[in-house]
Symmetry: C2
Subunit: 438 residues, 2 copies
């Protein structure tokens, strides 16, 4: 244990899906998080609007409080997951003024009042983290803020709204109309009862403002971000796009552009966009998000993953909590490379994987049975087998190629199988063995 | 200017491709980097083995020195880009002992002596950064170390060697043999004269060890990382894989696996692997790299980009330099969200983009000419035009659908065009207008 070890107090504001998920992970993973940080995290409370309405939450009752202000001023780290502008803004300012680091997933608040909040943090030397606000679980804030800090970002093309990507992808892949696809999205929980924030492009507009600000070191007033939703996209347009080799995606586009008078300006906009099928963004299906970044030195980068969801958002929030906590531990950042888990490294030969084996065999009755029994004797189960026979001259003994894919098998069992195959009179050659993953 | 402002001294070890690139960017972008950090970076020297041999470098002569030790002990930030084990290891230890933060892109050194170097950094409270060591320009270290620090990584599947991905992709897409593809890779500069480190899987093995250590908080001795190269992969296997719906990739696989005796172990291995064509990793072409991460809460994430190259590696190194420098500026991290660039936000309507316009028009002679002149009158240039005529009843007036893709046009010019199209007697309806990007 470090000399400077002390527990850090964490307050969570909001007991909804993400708030509960974060609170529970803080409690359940307390020990492991403590080892990763070098200090333990004490969850001192979860502020909810009405404790009696939070009956169904899995958060221990003694942690629930309606007095958010008292909670905030007692914490080292405040996690704002209430959403909306007020009282979230006021509570975050109170937290920062009390010297706490703040984590928020509130994109609406950051898009509307980001500069005020960042100034408040800088004034007291506190930190404001918001990895979950821009693209859910996809780490995009740290890469833009830190990894690319020595480079020049030219352009960002982002699929940052899962609902609209789900709808457009469904239209493209199944031929559903906009109306049908929206109904499916609502039914499956990908769209809310009032889908305006998503299909109208408002959610993507807020995220575009956050990404552009970070990439171009420029305050982006939300009202200057162009916004067009997907509501007017028709199946006919989707099909015409497909015919021309494109797919329609709702993109958040942030780009640095040369100005006629010299120097650079920034353009930030959200609109349905035709993307060539060969572009990495075209392969982003379902409710997934992806952010494609073009930078001067780094070239093209893409960050892909789930853009929303309780556990996914909680993952990003917890990463921010750990980052904030590590700042409080002197010599703490070294902990990041710690090897405290010290798990045994398993011999790769003992890890079962699937295999594909190609054999060239004599093409005669009974060969398949003989091959199959070699596999079953070694305890290796066959998943698929395909056979192809090349056309040889008439009268020549025929050779067939067998391609066999196995279920999971250990390397030891597989090696034994391959040895037996190689020495079998019906096998001319074991032409290749490759593992299968994914 | 901040009160605690002071210049930070940066030393670069190594004057090769990446060293020169980093040194030049430090000099050329000095002002902008200073604004991003809140302190200026003084490049105090570049250590080379033989200054006379560095005649062709673009680094100013007065910065070149062969006395690496003197340079190291005078710096706040030391950037090791020499490669190899010694004297890199010794100089990094000297730098850390003098209290400097160290940036390295040296995967061989980290894979062999990582724990010693991280311990040395932790002892003095210095930081050791190595974003460029694992996947070139792709930000993967910060996401694993910080963004996913509150989550549990289950598995990493990485394409972390560009040379082998280039070769396997070429075999898959053009049907070249392994021998031909390697020759092409060598010719195009993707493979070195002695390609063993790449095609033998040694480079990927080192990167796998780094990624696994970070993901599982466990020291991974290099010799316990399973390694199999691509040299025995035949075109026949590539084709058989294709036939079965797979593509062969050289994967670095790091996974946490349940042990028969309870608890977890780690398996780290590199081998050619069949990946289903629908998997995001299957779409990673050419010399690109990608790291696919499966985590408990975050789900599936993928990080994609260039895995090597001078400017790309320099981008990652410079990001690390900025991160290290920000640590030296009190209240510095706040600078990261600064809006110092304050670029003008351009009205999205003024940004030229390409458009796709669908029209339903009367199908009669002269219509195309009339439509084309509307475009040219508005100064909007047509890139492609495709026409489809539905089969109507005989004698009915026919309607055709025109899908037109324009070259870049401003929104103002485009709106004017659409207005004129809408009021044209031959146009029944402007069925849709969508922008095109990528």
């Amino acid at each position: 244990m470090r000399e400077n070890y002390r527990n850090l107090k964490v307050a969570v504001l909001g007991g909804g899906t993400v708030g509960s998920e974060v609170a529970n992970r803080l409690l359940v993973n307390r020990e492991e998080l403590g080892r990763r940080i070098g200090a333990e995290l004490d969850l001192i409370g979860v502020a909810v609007r009405d404790a009696s309405k939070s009956r169904r939450t899995s958060i221990p009752k003694n942690l629930l409080t309606t007095d958010a202000r008292s909670l905030v001023v007692s914490a080292d780290i405040v996690v704002e997951l209430m959403g909306g502008i007020e009282p979230a803004r006021e509570l975050i300012l109170l937290a920062l003024e009390s010297g706490a680091d703040v984590i928020t997933a509130n994109k609406a608040l950051l898009a509307a009042h980001g500069p005020q909040l960042f100034d408040a943090a800088a004034t007291v030397g506190a930190q404001l983290y918001y990895e979950a606000a821009a693209a859910g679980a996809i780490p995009i804030i740290r890469p833009l803020r830190d990894s690319l800090a020595g480079d020049e970002v030219h352009r960002i093309l982002g699929i940052v709204n899962g609902t609209t990507n789900f709808i457009l992808d469904l239209m493209d892949t199944t031929g559903e109309s906009m109306e049908q696809a929206l109904a499916t999205a609502t039914e499956l929980g990908y769209a809310e009862a009032d889908p305006t924030a998503d299909v109208g492009g408002y959610d993507a507009q807020q995220k575009a403002a956050l990404l552009a600000q970070l990439a171009f070191h420029t305050a982006i007033p939300l009202e200057e971000v162009g916004r067009e939703g997907i509501t007017e996209i028709t199946l006919e347009q989707v099909n015409q796009a497909k015919h021309a080799g494109y797919v329609i995606k709702l993109l958040a586009i942030c780009e640095r552009i040369g100005l006629p008078e010299g120097g650079y300006g920034v353009s930030v906009r959200v609109h349905p966009t035709l993307v060539p099928r060969s572009h990495p963004l075209a392969a982003v299906h379902g409710a997934n998000n992806a952010v494609f970044v073009e930078a001067e030195a780094a070239g093209s980068l893409m960050f892909y993953g789930a853009g929303a969801g309780g556990p996914e958002t909680a993952s990003a929030v917890l990463g921010d909590i750990v980052s904030a906590a590590r700042r409080h531990v002197v010599g703490g950042p070294g902990v990041a490379e710690s090897t405290h888990a010290d798990l045994p490294v398993v011999d790769p030969g003992l890890v079962p994987t699937r295999y594909q084996i190609s054999l060239s065999v004599t093409d005669q009755p009974g060969v398949l049975a003989s091959i199959a029994s070699i596999f079953s004797d070694a305890g290796v189960s066959v998943e698929t087998l395909s056979q192809s026979t090349p056309h040889d001259a008439v009268g020549e003994p025929q050779t067939a190629t067998l391609v066999i894919q196995t279920h999971q098998a250990s390397e030891a069992d597989l090696s034994q199988t391959v040895e037996k195959l190689a020495s079998s009179p019906v096998v001319h050659q074991v032409a290749g063995v490759v593992r299968v993953e994914g």
